[in-house]
């Protein structure tokens, strides 16, 4: 054993540089693979820990306030499968949050507000906040402390369409599954104020007895709710089962670890190729020494074992270096996963997956080394002295120089490549894998580099600048035409808001978009067929089409409430924000809901128009938002002003609380009669849709850019290390030949070019292979994120860049030729 180790160590010492490079690859491989395995295992504990530590409910039902009924709770009370349940209210919206008066700290948040009592209903409210200690107290998820850089006592201001809601941070809480991260707990009074401005939901948390199928139970619950009303509850009730939450959380949390594991997989292939290549080079280079060793009495098994030991020693050295980084990286991945679901508890990396990965990698390296090292058995001493049999078995002369007319360096490079083509399969696989990584990350990176493009692609259509949700007493066509006639306006569309339907009887509801004339919706991104034109036609998103297994031209059944109608599927739309969406014409939807009339107006402004100024103009002409009238303190310079403001406030209350669609008033003050009506209050809600989503998209861009750059850098490092080892081994193997070439007058640069050019055919095949592999993978990305159009020119440019990078790396790695004189090479 000692003598085997001595041989191994001598070989490592002799080829120190290559050994170090290979060890670096092994370190990367172990660190990335074992840490991602540990992280994937570790994330499975996070969601159960969130439930256990917060005592929150596992299953949740969200119901629009207007669709809620106490009968739902009675259903839960009576059902034996229900172990426990709780009920509260929440309001939610995408809002800007500012720290104090510092405008530079404004950030956009998807935020939900719950009253203190409601939070206590749903989970153990783990906070030391004192609600009585400050005015307008707000208690935030503990993870926001860092994100917003806030402390107890700080003032934060919630902004909604210019209206400010100041709060004082009273403390932080650690949340369970319900509304983690985005939930803010406020006082009952503040909640009552905010619910005038935002969408209110009733939230029911449910724990079922062990063994219950939560999904089936929740669907039964929804069916019961639907049976109690004639209204359609498809989109009014959202069900989130514990199983769904766990699946979704784990999918989100595991994403980064899976990307890292894929990179590690590529490195494993690279390590395998390098070991095989190095052993072949070593045997060729040391064949005479092998003969000498055999003549001295070493068995071929011992010599083979010395090669295996060499790589196992390198692997063990790699393990020693990478074990702590692996734990550290696993912990970092788990912490990142925990942060992504706003879990504030402690996370720890499990040791077993790390140790298993290490063991597997070391065994794998040993096995690969063994399969190649056994080649020494083919060389008895005499044969080894004659430099093996390889040099005696030439079969074919590739690229005979006699017949070539091109560049001699390219011809010589091709000659060398073809002679060793069989050994290039591994390198091809590795470069192909790197190409896939680079192409995917480039395409995703480029796609996500432009927030507006994402918004278009992700949402399925261009976003409007201003959306008005009108009051009930309006003629949609007249109002839309009036808006469209304004000089600032490029286009007005009337979308359906908050509608949901079932397609082909599948239980999970899909969103419904309804437009009168799709010819005007040129901004909808159609990927196949056409948008509906007639009342019996429908379009679906790509993902929904896949989900139901339909094709353009098929008949699909759409169900709204209790009404089902058949439609002809005419086309597909690319949308990731609402990947499950159906598109109907107004007339088409009226087949299911004859009373339908749009209430939302999406306004697209001409370039250069200030949206804020335009919004103020709209408010001046059509009145402020209803909630503003309702909440505003009654003020005014004159009695008439105060009377009008009071009347407006009362009308707004009647409209929002009693569902009144039209009111008039006439008040006589002395000889003056003050009159008015709700006709001047046309705006229920006004939002800057594009601006809000641009900020969210901006954040998305940063995340995806980071992932893309990370993947590209990782691919680059793999290629650099791999080609550095490959070139070093090749130079070593062809030391004498290079010396001869130098003596013939070939310059270092020409020889470097020849060596680098040898990998071009390999890289070319690999790049083409990688490109073809990327296409189905891009499809998978499309299924999960959104359909990213593959641009042929960009793809070719990326492929060329990969080729150039491979060539550059190989050329640079071959620079060692420069340092050695022809004389040294020959006398080596």
């Amino acid at each position: 054993m000692k003598k085997i180790l001595r041989l191994s160590l001598a070989n490592i010492k002799k080829h120190r540089r290559e050994s170090i490079l290979l060890m670096v690859l092994i370190v990367f491989c172990i660190t990335l693979l074992s840490s991602s395995a540990a992280a994937v295992k570790g994330v499975k504990k996070i969601t159960p820990s969130m439930v256990e530590e917060s005592g929150c409910y596992k299953n949740f039902v969200y119901v629009y306030q207007e669709s809620y009924s106490d009968r739902y709770l009675a259903f839960l009370e009576e059902d034996p499968r229900v172990e426990d349940y709780g009920h509260t209210s929440m309001v939610t919206d995408i809002l800007k949050v500012r720290k104090g008066q510092d405008a530079t700290t404004e950030q956009l948040f998807d935020i939900s507000f719950v009253p203190e009592s409601g939070e206590e209903q749903m989970e153990c409210f783990q906070t030391d906040a004192d609600f009585q200690s400050v005015e307008h107290p707000i208690v935030l998820d503990v993870t926001n402390r860092g994100k917003l850089e806030i402390a107890i006592g700080d003032e934060i201001v919630i902004l909604r369409n210019g209206k400010e809601f100041p709060f004082t941070v009273a403390g932080f809480y650690e949340s369970g599954l319900w509304g983690y991260g985005t939930k803010a707990v406020i006082s009952e009074e503040d909640f009552a104020s905010l619910e005038n401005y935002m969408k209110r939901y009733e939230v029911i948390g449910i724990n079922t007895v062990p063994g219950t199928d939560d999904d089936a139970f929740l669907n039964e619950f929804k069916a019961f709710a639907q049976d109690t009303t004639l209204n359609d509850l498809t989109s009014a009730i959202s069900l989130i089962s514990y199983k769904d939450t766990v699946t979704m959380n784990e999918a989100n949390m595991e994403l980064l670890s899976i990307i890292i594991a894929i990179m590690a997989g590529v490195i494993v292939i690279a390590v395998m190729i390098m070991i095989r290549f190095r052993i072949v080079s070593d045997i060729k280079e040391q064949i005479v020494s092998i003969g000498v060793l055999e003549a001295l009495g070493y068995t071929s098994g011992e010599i083979a074992a010395s090669y295996v030991a060499e790589y196992v020693l390198l692997a063990i050295a790699g393990v020693l270096i990478s074990i702590f980084p692996a734990f550290f990286l696993a912990k970092a991945q788990l912490q990142n996963a925990a942060n992504s679901v706003n879990y504030g508890g402690s996370v720890s990396a499990p040791a077993l997956p790390i140790l298993c990965c290490i063991l597997i990698i070391v065994l794998f390296i040993g096995l690969i080394a063994l399969t190649k090292a056994l080649a020494v058995r083919k060389y008895p001493p005499v044969l080894a002295f004659r430099k093996g049999i390889e040099t005696h078995s030439f079969k074919k002369t590739f690229v005979p120089l006699e017949k070539t007319r091109g560049n001699v360096h390219i011809c010589l490079a091709m000659k060398e490549f073809l002679q060793g083509a069989r050994n290039q399969i591994g390198l091809t696989v590795c470069i192909a894998a790197c190409t896939v990584m680079v192409l995917l990350s480039f395409m995703i990176g480029i796609f996500f580099s432009d927030a507006n493009r994402i918004l278009g692609s992700v949402c399925g259509h261009e976003m409007c600048d201003v959306r008005i949700e009108g009051t009930a007493d309006m003629d949609p066509e007249v109002f839309a035409a009036e808006l469209a006639g304004m000089p600032e306006v490029r286009q007005v569309l009337t979308p359906a808001v908050g509608l949901g339907v079932k397609v082909n009887g599948i239980e999970n509801p899909v969103n419904l978009e309804v437009y009168g004339d799709y010819a005007k919706t040129s901004t909808i991104l159609l990927t196949e067929g056409r948008l509906p034109e007639h009342e019996n036609e429908a379009a679906l998103t790509v993902q929904e089409k896949k989900r139901i297994g339909a094709a353009v031209g098929d008949t699909i059944t759409i169900e709204y409430g209790k009404v089902k109608r058949d439609y002809l599927l005419t086309g597909c739309v690319n949308s990731a924000v609402d990947p499950l969406t159906a598109y109907l014409t107004v007339e088409g939807f009226k087949r299911m809901d004859p009373g339908y009339a749009p209430r939302a107006y999406d306004i697209y402004l001409n370039e250069g128009v200030d949206k804020n100024a335009f919004a103020e103009f709209l408010k001046g002409r059509y009145g402020k938002e209803i909630a503003t009238y309702k909440e505003e303190e009654v003020t005014g310079d004159t009695l008439e002003d105060r009377i009008r403001n009071t009347a407006n406030k009362e009308m707004a209350k009647a409209m929002t609380e009693k569902g009144v669609s039209y009111m008039e008033y006439a008040i006589r003050v002395g000889d003056t009669v003050i009159t008015g009506s709700t006709s001047a209050m046309k705006i229920e809600k006004l939002t800057f849709v594009l601006e809000e989503n641009q900020e969210i998209a901006g954040m998305l861009c940063v995340s995806f850019a980071a992932i893309s750059i990370g993947m590209m850098i990782a691919s680059g490092i793999i290629v650099i290390l791999m080609l550095a080892i490959l070139m070093a081994s090749t130079i070593r193997k062809q030391y004498r030949e290079l010396g001869i070439m130098k003596s013939l007058g070939y310059t270092s640069k020409e020889l470097m070019f020849q060596m680098a050019f040898r990998i071009i055919p390999v890289a070319l095949i690999a790049v083409v292979l990688g490109t073809f592999l990327s296409i189905p993978l891009m499809g998978i990305v499309g299924d999960f994120v959104c359909v990213i159009e593959v641009d042929l020119i960009s793809t070719i440019l990326v492929d060329l860049a990969v080729l150039a990078f491979c060539f550059g790396c190989a050329y640079f790695s071959a620079r060692r030729i420069k340092k050695i004189s022809a004389y040294e090479l020959i006398t080596e």
Partner: protein, 252 residues
């Protein structure tokens, strides 16, 4: 005759684990055009080192090497490669054919570095091969399928294919048997007769007889020089006697 190569205070020192070994010391030398210069000396006297320094294969530690009055001692490695490509040919003791190429490709690899491929070039290569006795059936053979003498003759063709101004040979018959050695030496003699300048290192008397000028090297310096008439077979005993006498004086 003009001096094609000239050295001034040429030194070559090797360093090994801190120990300096001065192999060539302040050597002044001229190599004449169309001369067949033989460098002799005992083992370790620096013969091969001098040859490689003269040929631009290696850089001198100090001093200068002039080729046709041009100082090549400060050339970069790539410039030296271009210099070798243009002006020099090499024949090595270990032959150094490229093992993975057949005879024709070995010669063409040397030829194509300096000129473009053409049917004329291929024809010339074939003609040269035939001239040294390497006939067509051998052209597609690989080095390990040839005898040592055949390999060395291929090596000579590769060295002269670009019509170098000077041909360097480092003990070209050292690895060959007597018969093959003579064949190879005949090729050198023919080349010299055609006007080729040759510098050859050898420790073999029979080989040295082919030269016109014999330099004797000891401890890194030229200690003796012997000029001989052009090589003629019928004068061999006379030449051998004069050379033997010179070498005896040198203590060989």
């Amino acid at each position: 005759m003009n001096a094609i190569l000239k050295t001034e205070k040429l030194c070559k020192t090797f360093s090994n684990e801190g120990l300096q070994q001065h192999v060539i010391k302040n050597l002044d030398l001229e190599i004449m055009e169309k001369d067949f210069t033989i460098i002799m000396g005992s083992s370790g006297s620096g013969k091969s080192t001098l040859l490689y320094a003269l040929s631009g294969m290696d850089k001198p530690s100090m001093g200068k090497v002039f080729f046709n009055e041009e100082d090549i001692s400060d050339y970069s490695n790539d410039k030296l490669a271009l210099f070798r490509r243009k002006h020099c040919g090499f024949v090595f003791q270990s032959i150094y054919l490229l093992e993975n190429m057949n005879v024709l490709d070995n010669v063409l690899t040397g030829a194509l570095v300096a000129r473009k491929n053409s049917p004329e070039l291929v024809a010339r290569v074939k003609e040269l091969l035939e001239k040294v006795g390497i006939e067509e059936p051998l052209w597609k053979k690989y080095p390990n399928q040839l005898s040592g003498g055949e390999c060395q003759r291929v090596g000579i063709v590769r060295a002269v294919v670009n019509e170098p101004q000077i041909l360097f040979a480092d003990e070209p018959t050292g690895a060959l048997n007597s018969s093959s050695g003579q064949d190879v030496l005949n090729v050198f003699t023919e080349l010299h007769k055609s006007g080729q300048s040759i510098v050859m290192v050898t420790h073999d008397l029979k080989t040295a007889l082919r030269g016109t000028r014999v330099l004797y090297l000891r401890d890194g310096g030229i200690v003796g020089e012997h000029r001989m008439p052009e090589y003629e077979t019928d004068e061999l005993p006379k030449r051998r006697e004069s050379l033997q006498k010179f070498l005896n004086e040198m203590g060989w």
